[in-house]
Symmetry: C2
Subunit: 162 residues, 2 copies
Amino acid sequence: MGEAVPGRDPLSLDGQLCFAVYAASRAMTGLYRDLLADLDLTYPQYLVMLALWERGTASVGDLGEALRLDSGTLSPLLRRLEARGLVRRRRDTGDERVVRVTLTQTGTALRERARPIPGRVLCATGLTEDEVAGLRGLLDQLTESVATHDPTSVGRPSTPER
Amino acid sequence: MGEAVPGRDPLSLDGQLCFAVYAASRAMTGLYRDLLADLDLTYPQYLVMLALWERGTASVGDLGEALRLDSGTLSPLLRRLEARGLVRRRRDTGDERVVRVTLTQTGTALRERARPIPGRVLCATGLTEDEVAGLRGLLDQLTESVATHDPTSVGRPSTPER
DNA sequence: ACCAGTTCTATTGTGCGCAATTGAATTGTG
DNA sequence: CACAATTCAATTGCGCACAATAGAACTGGT
């Protein structure tokens, strides 16, 4: 099919890692959309709930650090979760700057209905557990490298200046 | 901590593949944000330009199939690219339903300024070419499995019905 | 106590993603 | 030709992401 040349065009869409990650992420989000419809949660909302189920309570800043999201994303998301009665937000007594997010009874109970989800996701991926572990390792390494990356020290293979 | 079971809690945030993909995707997008600032392109706009640089011209439907995006995303995005003079949109003569997207001179020329980007991205990932190849393979497999996935046949390890 | 600097959250504005709807153009069938 | 079904793109509405800004609350130094 493809043209003989061993080295692909670096600017080809299919050859780029970026698109593979991007496409995989949206495919996963779509899968979760189906699986979470029953719980009436979006995927980012589910991630917030995961973090809260682990912690019980957390400040907006804690959630932002765990999920790598800022308040511009979390504030309205948490407002919707509160409107649904899954969490409660209250200013911390002692430091009125921080908003403490706490699970309600309903929010805590929702965890039971979420329990079958990870198993279904693993099934849908069609990967073995070993493959999943390897993939997670590579992705974590990728995320770390890219996040730590210093823009000013970007390797410039052969470009002197614009 | 978790209940007795040796394997990690399936509902733990850090243990899930979904979050690894999600975090990696956003980290990559952030990297491209920096690299593309010079070209004044967003990451999805860059993907559309990649597809057009490969094809020269394409219908909205072609782009949607290549990038797995629908018209709700592409229409306003293409409008912005056209407003910047990078592409031109015109109804196909012969089939007035399809909108043909064509690169302008400016849009074609922009490719030269994009050429150093893939190299810089590879550098920033901190991965070897072999690791990138393996990662791409796993991600493509993941995307395929998840996309092909039939929601009704979802494996339900032990849940009879809601 | 005062004030400058910092920390933390919320708000605003822009640009995706995607479901659902709309409407024009085309195709298939009688 | 008439007309129902289909195809294609645009629009609408909602929910993220993220940059930039604003504002309240805390901190440390004087």
